[in-house]
């Protein structure tokens, strides 16, 4: 019985298989080629990332919260322009992306000169920022991820307290507002106090490993 069914299936299916191989497969190959071309075209229309990141870094460097950073020991700066900071912040180190190994992040305070470096790092390097002992400083613009999502990621990475920090160049002062903590179980970020409005083009997320305010 089984042999008979097998023979019958062969007779019925063989023409169909032949038709797929002779008629449809070339169409699939053509379709694949077209998809490839479309994706290449899409890539060609993307803006070059480096000029944008450099422009952002320059703006963020102009609003770097110096009074805060000068109190930190062993800071590490990540950015294409980070070399410029060695003379300004004593005892600091600079890392030029791409970062291949998390051991280089070792320090008390890790400062990203642009959100791009943070987003690239967490996508390309599986890291919990364990070598960062105290604080991550991150400028945010919402170019890559919304600010709330950034806070959620930082909470999930083991930084339970996040402030928003602004720097006023004229008075050379930093002020913080809006304290975010992870909601129990979900770890969704919750602002426990209000964020002050600011005209600053650059605002910083200050993520702490250990809560500083009880």
């Amino acid at each position: 019985m089984a042999l008979w069914i097998s023979k019958l299936m062969n007779v019925l299916c063989r023409p169909l298989v032949r038709r797929v191989s002779t008629e449809l497969l070339p169409h699939f190959a053509h379709f694949k080629q077209e998809l490839h071309e479309l994706s290449e075209m899409g890539r060609a229309t993307e803006p070059a990332i480096l000029p944008l990141v450099l422009k952002n870094e320059i703006e963020h460097l102009q609003q770097l919260p110096l009074p805060f950073l000068q109190k930190q020991e062993y800071s590490v700066f990540i950015g294409y322009s980070s070399n410029e900071l060695g003379d300004i912040i004593e005892g600091s180190r600079c890392l030029i992306p791409p970062i291949r190994n998390e051991s280089g992040l070792s320090g008390n305070c890790l400062v990203f000169l642009d959100e791009y470096h943070f987003v690239s790092l967490i996508r390309e390097l599986p890291t919990l920022f364990t070598p960062v002992r105290r604080t991550i400083l991150l400028p945010f613009r919402g170019d890559y991820l919304p600010e709330r999502r950034l806070r959620q990621i930082l909470h999930q990475l083991g930084f339970p307290e996040i402030f928003i920090m602004d720097y006023e160049r004229l008075s050379n002062t930093c002020f913080t507002s809006g304290i975010s903590h992870p909601i129990p179980v979900s770890s969704l970020p919750l602002m426990l106090s209000q964020v002050k409005k600011s005209d600053a083009t650059t605002r910083w997320l200050v993520a702490n490993r250990y809560p500083t305010q009880l």
Binding site: L128, P182, V185, Q213
Partner: protein
């Protein structure tokens, strides 16, 4: 352990404090133990004394978020998170012991394990956690000396089983006892005692339940002790007690709202291993010795 004389500081909050039995084991082993259940006690002043910090708290739950929305309740005012305690004390070894057997570590809290030196796992399989700390297969922290001691309605529980109430905070927002009796009256009619988690405010619901004739086991009775003596375990929803029942080989069932009958008893399964205190003490000692060498 006695050569270095660190003190043991055990931390938790209400039903999320699952270290009472371990505290007794440590005392029996000659250690100096401080127990802090933040719902009833303050953190002690230990000065510069070396501390072995053991906690069953949620590692990511800060004191600020814990008090948020509960500012008026005195039970929440004393709360400090494990990280806040680590800053306050001279910690020579930190240990995380979960209070929830169903979900020992919440996914979004995994990164916080890197704050700890040792994780006491109830289960053998702990993939990837050795990247963050030292996982030890110690077994379930409440599975210690559970056959001893007596509790209210013990005889009835052995015949009829017990009904554990889960998701208490939701229940408190749903008219408490009235809601429970309406949805799970089947437990009352079958003389199955109720057991609530030990949480601030639960005594009011217990009192209301008893006034209607329902049987109630006091919330501060260790749940594992109740489970091991039960014919079977019932609950309104998933939670740690069902996982605990499975761990102890006791049949467990979720009861649907407005059910008219309870499932028939099924045979007991196999009990898993009790908490291995020796393994924990040895690992703590090794960690302290290694950190002194380096």
């Amino acid at each position: 352990m006695t050569a270095s004389h660190p003190v043991f500081l055990l931390l938790g909050f209400a039903s999320e404090y699952s270290l009472g039995a371990i505290a007794n084991l440590l005392r029996n082993a000659g250690e100096n133990v401080f127990e802090v259940d933040f719902s009833i006690s303050e953190i002690p002043d230990l000065g510069d004394t070396e501390v072995v910090l053991i906690t069953s708290q949620h590692p990511a739950r800060t004191s600020s978020i814990f008090r948020h929305g509960n500012e008026r309740a005195s039970a929440y005012k004393r709360y400090l998170s494990p990280m806040e305690c680590m800053q306050r004390f001279n910690v020579c070894c930190s240990v995380f012991i979960p209070h929830d057997l169903e979900q020992p570590i919440i996914t979004d809290e995994i990164a916080y394990l890197s704050f700890f030196d040792i994780y006491c796992s109830p289960y053998e399989f702990n993939p990837g956690l050795s990247l963050l700390c030292t996982p030890l297969y110690t077994g379930w922290s409440k599975h210690v000396g559970i056959d001893t001691g007596e509790f209210t309605h013990q005889g009835i529980v052995a015949r009829n089983g017990v009904f554990f109430v889960n998701q208490l905070i939701d229940l408190m927002g749903h008219d408490g006892a009235k809601y429970l009796l309406d949805k799970y009256g089947v437990a009352v009619s079958h003389e199955v005692p109720f057991k609530f988690p030990n949480w601030p405010g639960v005594s009011n619901i217990e009192r209301e339940m008893e006034q209607t004739g329902a049987l109630v086991i006091p919330a501060n009775t260790p749940s594992t002790q109740v489970i091991i003596h039960s014919a079977q375990v019932f609950s309104n929803t998933n939670g740690s007690v069902l996982a605990e029942a499975a761990y102890l080989g006791v049949p467990a069932h979720i009861i649907q709202p407005h059910a008219t009958a309870l499932p028939s008893p099924t045979p007991r399964g196999q009990q898993r291993q009790p908490f291995n205190i020796q393994l924990l003490l040895q690992s703590i000692q090794n960690h302290i010795n290694n950190s002194r060498i380096t």
